[in-house]
């Protein structure tokens, strides 16, 4: 009996040793990442100026003319952007007098209308900012004064929206 008890005690001791396990712990990591882009800035740099016009005589300003308008855009380098005119009047106004107007537009990553890519202002365009985050948008157009167009200074506002 004593031998049985001793044997059982030895077995239980072995069972006790093999049943225990050290607590396991480990860790792993991942990264969180983000890229903050430069904000877009759109500056109305040069007004579109038709100069002197005469009743009944249309006058056009090409993108390459001295009177052409220009927007200067800055933002995140080499990033695609969308161009949209959100305010494009059909008339320049002088009080209650209207002077019909239509527009042309083009963009270039350098400040040169000669190499600008033309687009229909009413349709907008998609392009990318330059490697330095710049874009130039040129605005031309044509006014069509009536034969009895009232004399005076006619103005209108054109707004360009640029988005990533």
């Amino acid at each position: 009996m004593k031998r049985l008890t001793q044997s059982l005690a030895a077995v239980l001791f072995v069972v006790g040793l093999t049943s225990s396990a050290a607590a396991q712990s480990n860790s792993g990591s991942i990264t969180a990442t983000a890229q903050v882009q430069q904000p877009i800035n759109v500056n109305g740099a040069v007004n579109l100026s038709f100069g002197n016009v005469f009743p009944g005589v249309n006058k056009a300003v090409l993108l390459t003319d001295a009177g052409a308008g220009r927007f200067d855009v800055t933002g995140q380098a080499s990033t695609p952007v969308n161009l949209a005119y959100t305010a494009l009047p059909t008339n320049l106004a002088n009080g209650g007098n209207n002077l019909p107007v239509s527009f042309t537009s083009g963009y270039n990553t350098s400040n040169s209308a000669a190499g600008a890519t033309s687009f229909a202002p009413g349709s907008g365009a998609s392009t990318s900012l330059s490697g330095t985050g710049a874009l130039f948008v040129f605005l031309g157009g044509t006014v069509t004064p009536a034969v009895n167009q009232a004399a005076g200074t006619y103005t209108g506002t054109v707004t360009l929206q640029v988005t990533y």
Binding site: M1, R3, L4, S7, L8, V11, L12, V14, V15, T18, S19, A21, A23, Q24, S25, N26, S27, G28, S29, I30, T31, A32, T33, A34, Q35, V36, Q37, Q38, P39, Q76, Y164
Partner: protein, 170 residues
């Protein structure tokens, strides 16, 4: 030999004694399941990617996002319970030491059987959580979050480290 009435003999047959010992020894040697010896590993499977951000515009990535959500895969003893503890950064670090605030909500953590992101169970990653390993000792853990760039957040790349500590529970 005189015996007191009602008592049984104290002697145990020797053969029976040996059988019991052998049986107990066998049980002791084979009672330890093989999976208890499986080492615990925690592998980062996918980063938490917020992508392009604009200053002043918050952006949230869901834990169910298969492309941008964070994921870690755990391997350990089969059917074990594990305690999950995230170390979550308060912000990411960017150019010239600029910091971009991060936040994690009560629904931004999740776990599932391995790689089953669509059937995960949600949990709050901000507090320790107990999850089960499957019969093969596997579980995947997912993480979402929100980046909160300030209105004058400096442009550039930001990053931070998220750590998951796992402990096998007895």
């Amino acid at each position: 030999m005189w015996r007191r009435a009602g008592t049984a003999p104290a002697e145990v047959p020797r053969g029976l004694c040996r059988c019991v010992i052998l049986s107990l020894l066998s049980s002791a040697l084979w009672a330890t399941p093989a999976e208890a010896q499986r080492p615990l590993t925690v592998q980062g499977a996918r980063s938490l990617t917020f992508g392009s951000l604009l200053a002043g515009v918050n952006k949230t990535v869901l834990r169910t996002d298969v492309v941008n959500g964070g994921q870690l895969d755990i391997s350990g003893p089969g059917r074990a319970s594990v305690l999950l503890t995230f170390t979550l950064p308060a912000s990411m670090t960017g150019p010239a030491g600029a910091t971009l605030p991060l936040s994690f909500g009560s629904n931004d953590g999740g776990w599932s059987p391995p790689q089953q992101i669509g059937t995960q169970t949600a949990f709050d990653p901000r507090v320790p959580y107990t999850a089960p390993l499957d019969q093969n000792g596997k579980v995947s853990v997912y993480l979402g979050g929100t980046a909160k760039p300030t209105a004058n957040q400096k442009a550039g790349s930001y990053s931070g480290t998220i750590t998951l500590t796992v402990v096998v529970l007895p």
